[in-house]
């Protein structure tokens, strides 16, 4: 019986991550776990006192991430795209388009819950956004490495999001995140392929690990139950 599961970490590319793959995968595993736990914690707390404004507030940060990815990916192409194969420019642009669709879709969900779609960086997303853009300035692969971690972390949130939203009948939110879940597979596969294709030197690999470790630290700080509780209090 053939295993039909597709693992985007095994996407074919170059050998640029050889020697650091174990740490790369360890970072991805840990960030997925913490995001899963935090999302579960959020919906457990939410169930005790369901309030659509709280869910809207929780989604606002995620909504901002979608549009920030659009800005980031386009800047990535503008600054560094000519060093990439043309198919990768196309795929990064395609990802950007999908992130814009996600911003629109999550925005509708936020509005349907009585929230306001962010048009500037929400406080809860400042550290995340600032770090991503710092990575962009540092190295041509650093921002990609950082969003690769961030996108992977999102994949840890899907199952508890579907379960939590189903509990409260937020079917539109589930539908939106089902599509995002599909697209994340593309985004994480593309991230891995770009990194493994273009990382050439030890300096490249160190910058990739620095970005990934940094984004994991932010994920740990962003998704703790305490932060979630603060989000709920603020809402």
């Amino acid at each position: 019986m053939i295993d039909k599961a597709v693992d985007t970490r095994k996407v074919r590319g170059g050998k640029g991550l050889a020697g650091i793959e174990a740490e790369v995968d360890e970072i991805l595993d840990s960030v997925q776990t913490i995001t899963c736990e935090a999302t579960t914690s959020f919906f457990d707390a939410y169930s005790k006192n369901p309030n659509p404004a709280v869910l809207a507030s929780w989604l606002e940060t995620r909504c901002w991430r979608e549009i920030d990815y659009v800005f980031l990916l386009n800047e990535q192409i503008r600054r560094y795209g000519m060093g990439f194969q043309r198919n990768h420019i196309t795929l990064l642009a395609k990802q950007s388009f999908q992130e814009a669709e996600h911003y629109e879709a999550v925005g509708k969900a936020v509005e349907s819950l009585g929230g306001i779609v962010p048009t500037s960086v929400p406080k809860a997303a400042v550290a995340w956004s600032t770090f991503l853009w710092e990575c962009m300035d540092r190295h041509h692969l650093a921002a990609i490495a950082a969003w690769y971690v961030s996108e992977t972390s999102a994949s840890g949130s899907f199952a508890p999001t579907f379960e939590g939203c189903a509990r409260h009948g937020y079917n539109d939110v589930i539908k939106i995140y089902k599509q995002i879940e599909i697209d994340e597979k593309f985004h994480t596969g593309l991230g891995r392929q770009v990194l493994s294709t273009y990382a050439e030197t030890d300096e490249d690999r160190e910058e990739i690990l620095r970005a990934m470790r940094g984004m994991r630290e932010i994920a740990w700080k962003s998704f703790t139950p305490e932060v979630v509780a603060a989000t709920m209090r603020a809402a």
Binding site: I2, D3, K4, V6, D7, T8, K10, V11, R12, G13, Q85, R86, N87, T90, L91, K94, Q98, I182, D183, K185, F186, G189, L190, Q193
Partner: protein, 323 residues
């Protein structure tokens, strides 16, 4: 020819025919360069490219030049008079200076690390093996080549092979030696030796039979089966049967399988449409997929049971999908 965006996306390179000459009787060798003079993408031994000929035919050819030469690629084409136009066009119409659209190099025939290699080539099947032999020789590893062909003058690159140091070479034109004596080289499994074979279907079948009970992963082969390939790849068309309804769909050479399935009303989850995300995976019930994706494992590919229709195609005239 009306090319869809999908097709052009898979053939992003514009190459100029910088040189074209006879490599052996019935075999023409093409030197290809980027029209803008920029360096070409890297490739590894075993890689092939897909080329759109000016007459609208799409064909796949192994890269057989120097992997370290980023300025130019070399492919070689056997004239198949009974074919439906691909090789005939190249041999009779293609000229120096012509422009061809081509894909990035793809590799379904990777050279795996080993201490010792046995290469078995039949005719034009020498093309993917030649860069492998050079690589293995450069790295100082042990290698043996058994190379058969109809007659010596029809066998390409004998002069180049002669210059590669370190291996045991057995050139066996059929008019002098008869068919290749596979039993002599494949009579028993040699630990830490990999076998790479490329050539006509009958040769591959015979090699597979000899190695049938050898450990998995020992034999690597790429088929050059003229009858099948001419049917499928001369014009790139094939048919898909939807098993649940029995309906058949014709997939044009310039159409992605996924697009054709969608046009036929099949709803298939997808995202990248580039062979990366794996979300469009479908079950294959019959036929042999031509895997062009970047994400399925070797085991999944070799099983022939699943495929990604966004980029992959068919090696057989009909594919039966669980749709």
């Amino acid at each position: 020819m009306d090319l869809s965006g999908d097709r052009l996306q898979t053939l992003p390179l514009s190459l100029v025919v910088a040189d074209l000459h006879e490599a052996a009787s019935g075999v023409v060798s093409l030197i290809l360069r980027d029209v803008r003079g920029v360096v070409l993408p890297e490739w590894a031994p075993g890689a092939h490219i897909e080329i759109l000929l000016p007459n609208g035919i799409v064909r796949q050819y192994s890269l057989c030049g120097d992997t370290g030469d980023a300025e130019q690629w070399r492919i070689s084409v056997l004239n198949v008079p009974e074919g439906r136009g691909g090789s005939k066009f190249i041999h009779e119409k293609l000229a120096k200076g012509d422009i061809l659209q081509a894909s990035e190099p793809r590799n379904n025939f990777l050279l795996e690390p080993a201490e010792d290699y046995l290469f078995i080539a039949g005719g034009i099947g020498i093309t993917p093996l030649l860069p492998m032999i050079r690589r293995v020789a450069d790295e100082g590893r042990r290698w043996t080549l058994l190379y058969g062909g109809r007659e010596r003058r029809s066998m390409a690159y004998l002069d180049e092979i002669e210059l590669i140091a370190g291996g045991d070479v057995f050139i066996r034109p059929q008019d002098q030696y008869g068919i290749l004596d596979l039993k002599a080289v494949l009579h028993e499994h040699t630990p830490r030796r990999l076998v790479y074979c490329c050539g006509p279907g009958a040769l591959i079948d015979a090699v597979e039979e000899q190695c049938a009970h050898w450990p998995k992963g020992t034999l690597h082969r790429e088929r050059f089966t003229p009858r099948t390939r001419e049917t499928i790849l001369e014009d790139g068309e094939f048919e898909v049967e939807l098993a649940r309804s029995g309906r058949r769909i014709r997939i044009a050479s310039d159409q992605s399988l996924l697009s054709a399935l969608e046009d036929a009303g099949c709803k298939i989850t997808n995202s990248c449409r580039a062979g990366i995300c794996g979300t469009c995976l479908v079950d294959v019930l019959g036929g042999v997929p031509d895997h062009l994706d970047d994400v399925l494992t070797d085991e999944q590919r070799e099983s022939g049971k699943v495929m990604l229709p966004c980029v992959s195609r068919s090696k057989t005239p009909i594919l039966i999908l669980d749709l």
